[in-house]
Amino acid sequence: MTSALNPKYSFDSFVVGAANRLAVTAGHTVAESPGAAYNPLFIYSGSGLGKTHLLMAVGHAAKKAAPKLNIEYLTLDEYVEAFHASVAAGQGDAFRRRFQNVDVLLVDDVQFLTNRKEMQSELLRLTEALQAAGRQIVLTSDRPPPDIADLDERLISRLSGGLVVDMGTPDYETRVAILRRKSEERGARFEPGVLEAVAQAEVGNVRELMGALNRLVAFQAVNDTSINAETVKRILGLASEGAGSASPGDGRTPAAKGGGGGGGGGDEFGEFLADVTVTVGKAVEAWRARVGEAVLRWEGEGYRTQRLEALLQRDAPAAVDKAIAAFAEDVERLKALEAEVAELDPQAAGQSVFRDPERLSEAEDAAAKVRAGAAPPPGPSAAFPLAAFAVGPSNQVAVSAARAALERPGKKYNPLVLVGKSGLGKTHLLNAIGLELARGKRAVVACLSTQAFIDELIAAIDGNRVDWWRARYRRATALLLDDIHLLAGKERTQEELFNLFNLLQDKDRQLVFTAPAHPNTLSGLEERVVSRLEGGLVAELKEPDREVKRAVLERMLTQQAVHPEPALIDYLADRPTDSVRSLVGLLQRVASAAAAQDGPLTAGLAREVLEGQSSRDSRRAGGFRTSGLVVSSLGGIKSREKVVWDWIDVGDRVIEEFR
């Protein structure tokens, strides 16, 4: 968080007089030990008397005394705007947190609290919270708290509870001091008595005083003659001359004419020139105001503004508006980059390069780096197309649910939970759904096993990039997790999944999970996760029916370019198998037997292999002595646990018994 303090407004440049001494002293005290003395400090005065200057000076001084302090300056309007924006974005809490972490809060122009009930209660709450935490609040207004119309009594007492101090109009001496300092700053020199004459004019505030000084500086610059105390009054219209009256017939000219005879005409032109000078001065000096506004605005948003400040240092730079526009453009680009990066890697978005338009190219590089490093989450495996999924009465429900989900992703069944025993094709269907979803434009489908999900999270925690990990999944347009029961006992992953689930579901993004059994029968899952899994549709895949088996067999055989006799398919399809995977195992056994004999795949061979009349040759050809299952290079059972690899030597045992 950066403060929007104008560097020009410091205690050094603040002219102290009788009218504001108390306020300045209080400001110094507060800056030296924030939160300790007057809290809140409430400064009020009329317009143009230095409230903002003093407020920012407190900020500067506090920052200087303790550079680590978190200092925030903003006007009430900005505060209101920020509040509304955060409420609209659903980030009301973030807004509150933001201000509760401020060490010194400087709020300008709180008189605008009138008729803003909700802001009043917000400010009341914030004031209480900050005070309780020993943090400093300084507020300014153009009137004391009780005079702010329609202000909550509690807030009045809160705001008046620290120190309420006012600043009056500067007295003559202060006015002279201000004029001296300002003319020095502008490098203008005047004859003795000139500034005193200006200071004698009754002015309501310091800004008017500055206006008068500007006119003198402009006049002197054009006329190449220095002004004396006499001419000051004429130039400033302080004497009898009223404001350029248009009333007909008033004798305005004779004074000038009568005074100098022949020179009178010159005076007339001189007056004209002075008037034009002032008007032109105001017109072309308007760029300063515009630059100043831009600086305040962008500084307020936390951007560095050296480029604009450099403009202010110059006398009359060309194409000011272009420079401001170019600056604004750069800031917009930074904003876009920051937003993009924030989505990919929230931590990286906090870098200061995204706040400095002078380092735009660095920011581009940083964004490119993040972009390059932002690998999408793991996607579905291409090995499981939907077309290859055998459909039959046993899995009809699940498949049609999947198709419905694909038609209207995220809207119809969300989440879709596929349950069924191992080997029934849950993973296949899950990946198939993922593949179909991934066809969509700009689709980012996260499809992975729950184990991989857990491992990734652990790696992210280890690498301190959980934010990056989260952002990666939050971008997903669909999340498909295989074997959700593996979450059992993984509390942190459940927590993350819970949040991710809610976020994605809110955005109507499709969620698909698989589990070996109905979620509510799974142990080790938190209730909130289970209830969410149950919230969509739980579709079961049953043991494969004949139709499915036939389809699977036909597909597998076709893949191996084998044209088996129909009787083989019938025979295998009729054999009792509880899963597709074991069916595949059967087929592989038969196939390897056929390969060993170098003969065709026939029903007879299958019967021979599967019903125990297997030939010894085929076993030898397999090269293994097995428990009856043949491990084939084609796949099937790969788990070491299910295969007995090392048989004891039967011969040893025989000898043992013989003894």
Binding site: A221, G244, A246, G265, F269, V276, V280, A283, V284
Partner: protein, 199 residues
Amino acid sequence: MSLVNFTTREITCKIVYYGPGRSGKTTNLHYIYGRVPESRRGRMVSLATQTDRTLFFDFLPIDLGQISGFSTRFQLYTVPGQVYYNATRRLVLQGADGVVFVGDSQARQLDENLESLQNLQSNLLEHGVDIRTIPLVLQYNKQDLPLELILSPADLDDALNFRGVPSFSADALHGKGVFETLKSISELVLKKLAAGTAA
């Protein structure tokens, strides 16, 4: 209208003195010419007939020098007042930043004043300019004539100044009200300039 040029650092204002024939437009310019120091003024161009009536236009450039780093120039023009020179008037009016309407205070000239004012409006419209938006001031000239011949500034305001723009009573021959008028129109033009560049 590019009044303020930040690149070349110039401010140029074109001010046109408009009004019926013989109302004193050229006289205004002559008086100004006489009061501007030689170093500040350019050559006054006056294209007049033998009877000293403005035939085409008068042109008086005034160089105010560097103001806030801008070289500032005023260009003062008059138009021929006679009805039949309308094409010339329209031409001179082109690109004007401000208009001074010099009215003849004589009671018998009231219709001419009104006619000329309407002519100004329609000529501005030809250039796509709305008379309500262009800086305009009125000057009631010849207020030095015997009271029985002229209308009072208040009467003239009633008759001519229905937009409530600044108005000045003047005696251009002797210079009364001339610079007040010029100041007023300059201020209006420059203020518009400030507003224009800020936008």
